[in-house]
């Protein structure tokens, strides 16, 4: 039975239809899965359901009654809560303060009831079975933990409809299990969960109803029991073939990056990365697999100079461990961070401005940028990576997540790097674009680049890499060529149960 129903919803932005007459039923006590490529209209539909935006045409029915949400607050009051894909938290406030932001509990009007807020925050966090101190600052938490806080924020409202927009994109496998447990509970309690994700296996596991959007239209909708991954992909992509045979890798080339005993200190004592020794070769794609908190991000940040680190890092024969991040960049070691919005995109620059930022000097003519050579290089890079944008002059904010990610990678590539470090490159990138992204990464390796990417997705690690490094507790626990990297081994290693015969265990020990 549909608790919330969208009827013939259309939404146009300045004449461009993002949604075109979409019907969507949200069933109570069930997980309502919404899938589609980036740009298919999922986010727009969710924004309309949650009151962020208003439809150009069509209507919403809540319990059969027509409703209009003119703000998120109104939607929340009616019991429709949303957790956005991009985090909306104040890093300078504590977990409790964030949870009750805008709906503060008071003793007498105007006076905050700290005790009740604390108690309820604790209760909702324990319901999420997650050991987050309600008094810790959100800015000190990892992305995954912040996501949990976002969910807690929605749950504390007693939402009847809870929209989760790619909630697992930043979560480790263990946290995903926690989340699925919570979703199961919410289902039992009669809550309608709307779940958006690009991880199809996830959708098949927890979904009850599957709705597929394509190009702003409702493509198909059916119970999950009648759907399969193949069916979903077919509905999403139409006749575009997505089969990518696993190529046999070229022989790896010279060692371009040699790391010895790398340690990244944890603020307040201890080590985030604790003695990592490894080598990376040209022409090789290396996956750095690890759960949240394993130190994979910190290892990449330590390598590129974004974090202070100890130990030796030799890039193409030169010890770069004493150099600044900018100097390492100049020596063609490039890093693309995980959180694009926060760490990589310039919303005040165009697509072209974002792409060309790191390579301005390469195209400068008599001190002037933006010449024909730079423009054609930018156009060529956009074509090479398949960046879908009106033009290089378009605002970066008008691009979908996948295309933004390509721009970030493209910025690195325009500097002709030797080593490319990518942190969770597929975060927020849809399935179709993901395939292209992975092809791009493979293509770069074939051109002699050393590509290292951090991931918390097993399937991704195995599908793209020539070699998988596994991290747990700041140490390397496995270093496997792809043909030996079966899931069981990787999972065991990521939980710190390394294979004693593994080469890296000896090195680390």
């Amino acid at each position: 039975m549909a608790v919330l129903r969208a009827e013939k919803i259309s939404k146009a932005y300045g004449g461009v239809a993002a949604l075109d007459g979409v019907d969507f039923d949200v069933h109570a006590g069930a997980v309502n899965v919404l899938v589609g490529e980036n740009g298919a209209g999922k986010s727009t539909l969710m924004k309309i359901l949650a009151g962020v935006e208003q439809p150009t045409a069509g209507r919403l029915l809540l319990d059969g009654e027509p409703v209009r949400f003119s703000s998120v607050r109104e939607a929340a009051a009616a019991g429709v809560g949303i957790v956005f894909q991009e985090l909306n938290l104040c890093p300078n406030l504590t977990v409790t303060q964030n949870i009750f932001l805008g709906r503060d509990l008071t003793t007498t009007p105007g006076v905050l009831d700290h005790a009740s807020e604390q108690a309820r925050a604790r209760a909702v966090l324990s319901r999420l079975a997650h050991a987050i101190d309600p008094d810790s600052l959100v800015g000190d938490l990892r992305v995954g933990e912040q996501q949990i806080v976002e969910i807690a924020k929605a749950l504390v409202d007693d939402a009847r409809v809870l929209i989760l927009d790619e909630p697992t994109s930043a979560l480790s496998a263990a946290e995903v299990e926690v989340l699925f447990g919570v979703i199961g509970e919410l289902k039992q309690a009669g809550v309608a969960v709307i779940y958006i994700s690009h991880r199809l296996e996830e959708l098949m596991r927890i979904g009850d109803h599957v709705t597929v959007l394509r190009d702003g239209r409702l493509q198909a909708s059916r119970p999950a029991s009648d759907a399969s991954v193949g069916w979903i992909v077919e509905q999403m992509l139409g006749d575009k073939s997505r089969d990518r045979p696993r190529r046999s890798g070229p022989p790896a080339g010279q060692v371009v990056l040699a790391v010895e005993g790398l340690r990244v200190p944890r603020p307040g004592g201890g080590w985030l990365v604790d003695g990592v020794t490894t080598r990376v070769r040209a022409g090789e794609v290396t996956a750095l697999y690890g759960l949240l908190g394993s130190g994979r991000t910190e290892l990449l940040e330590g390598l590129c100079g974004a974090r202070p680190a100890q130990g030796s890092i030799v890039l193409a024969g030169e010890d770069i461990s004493g150099l600044s991040l900018a100097d390492r960049c100049a020596r063609r070691l490039r890093f693309a961070p995980e959180d694009r919005q926060r760490d990589a995109l310039f919303h005040n620059l165009s697509v072209g401005g974002n792409l060309g930022l790191s390579s301005l000097w390469a195209f400068v003519r008599r001190g002037v940028i933006g010449g024909p050579r730079e423009r054609s290089a930018i156009d060529a890079m956009m074509a090479r990576l398949g960046v879908k944008a009106v033009s290089a002059g378009a605002p970066i904010g008008t691009l979908s997540g996948g295309n933004q990610q390509k721009v970030v990678i493209g910025r690195c590539l325009m500097t002709a790097p030797l080593v490319l470090l990518l942190d969770e490159p597929s975060r927020g990138v849809d399935v179709g674009a993901r395939g292209e992204l992975f092809e791009t990464m493979r293509g770069l390796a074939e051109q002699g680049l050393a590509v290292v990417f951090a991931t918390s997705d097993l399937v991704e690690a195995r599908a793209v890499a020539d070699r998988v490094l596994v991290m747990a507790g700041g140490r390397l626990t496995a270093d496997l060529p792809i043909d030996q990297a079966d899931e069981a081994t990787l999972i065991a290693a990521s939980n710190g149960v390394g294979d004693p015969s593994s080469r890296s265990m000896e090195l680390a020990g």
């Binding site: 900018a326 990589a344 310039f346 005040n348 165009s350 423009r375 290089a392």
Partner: protein, 349 residues
């Protein structure tokens, strides 16, 4: 034109649609047209060529400061010390011309020529800006606080140079070869005041650097997303230091122009100049959080403030009412800026 988008990767000007949006976008120009039209009717002699030349000399003071300030604000910073640095610059020029430099070991007093005086004072302004920049970039002091400190330090230094007195009659002496300082503030070339020509040259250069050079792009990048700039290999610290140096040099130049116009240097000269400069930049459409704005916009903003000031004086409006009106104009500009931001957000997918 300040708001033109031409090159492929020019910084993105917020794109809004429709007539109200267009009016908002061009608000600084419209405001300028409105004040000029108003005073043309309300103040006799306002439209005369001689009045415009005088007005442009006034505008140049604010505009040159605003050019430096634009760079600082584009990185997300602020420079409160420009008025004081201008005061210090004027006083430094004054003491160099009147008292020269005593070379201690020889006991000789050397009087630098005017070009050398100008160079030394510009270096001094740049050094003050460098200190601001180092505090902001390396010691992570909030720009507001760092430059507030410099505001006091530079003003104090200006007062110390003369023990609070004015340096009068800065014409130099024939025998010492340091004549000609008044040229900067009162001479004309081809019928145009040197000050105005200087402003034009500076504006063209600053506009070019902001739009067409790597440094300019870095300035926008640092203001747009500092961490992303850092991770992209931009030397963020150097960019920040550079913008404060530029601002300091502009301030020192303004200090000398003022001293040259008056043929005297007063230690209190330049007080509250920083506020007009910031107002001009904001009127010109810059965002105080950085990443958005332009040199052209700041120029138009400076014109609005200058025309408003002079026009009100010509109408005989009291100084107190002038302050109220200027304040209201600045507030209106920021409100309109917010409106434009909202329209832009609404038009975005």
């Amino acid at each position: 034109m300040a708001t033109e988008i031409s090159a492929v990767q020019a910084p993105v000007v917020p794109q809004t649609r429709g007539v109200p949006a267009l009016l908002l976008k061009l608000r600084a120009l419209i405001a300028l047209a409105v004040v000029v039209a108003f005073f043309s009717v309300a103040a006799p002699n306002f439209l005369s060529a001689s009045n415009f030349l005088i007005m442009f000399k006034h505008i140049a003071i604010t505009a040159i400061l605003a050019i430096g300030m634009t760079y600082v604000i584009l990185t997300g910073g602020i420079d409160l010390s420009v008025g004081s640095i201008a005061g210090l610059g004027g006083m430094a020029a004054g003491t160099l011309i009147l008292n020269g430099v005593t070379l201690q070991p020889l006991g000789v007093v050397v009087y630098p020529s005017v070009p050398l005086v100008i160079a030394i004072v510009l270096l001094l302004g740049g050094f003050a800006g460098f200190l601001n920049g180092v505090l902001v970039a390396r010691f992570r002091v909030a720009p507001f606080i760092a430059t507030l400190g410099m505001l006091y330090v530079a003003r104090g230094a200006a007062l110390l140079l003369s023990d609070g007195a004015t340096f009068p009659n800065l014409v130099g002496r024939t025998g010492l070869g340091n004549e000609g300082f008044p040229w900067l503030g009162s001479a004309s070339v081809l019928g145009l005041p040197v000050t105005v020509l200087l402003l034009a040259a500076l504006a063209l250069l600053a506009g070019f650097v902001a739009r067409d050079t790597p440094f300019g792009r870095w300035v926008y990048a640092v203001g747009g997303n500092e961490r992303a700039a850092l991770l992209s290999g931009v030397r963020v610290d150097r960019v920040k230091i550079a913008v404060y140096v530029i601002s300091g040099v502009c301030a020192a130049l303004v200090g000398m122009i003022v001293a040259s116009e008056l043929v005297a240097a007063h230690p209190a000269s330049g007080e509250t100049f920083e506020l007009s400069a910031i107002a001009a930049v904001v009127l010109g459409g810059a965002s105080l959080s950085g990443g958005r704005g332009s040199v052209g916009g700041a120029l138009i903003g400076a014109c609005v403030i200058g025309v408003l000031g002079d026009g009100l004086v010509m109408m005989g409006v009291s100084e107190f009412w002038q302050m109220v009106i200027k304040g209201l104009v600045i507030i209106a500009a920021v409100v309109l800026d917010q409106l434009q931001g909202r329209l832009t957000a609404a038009g975005r997918t």
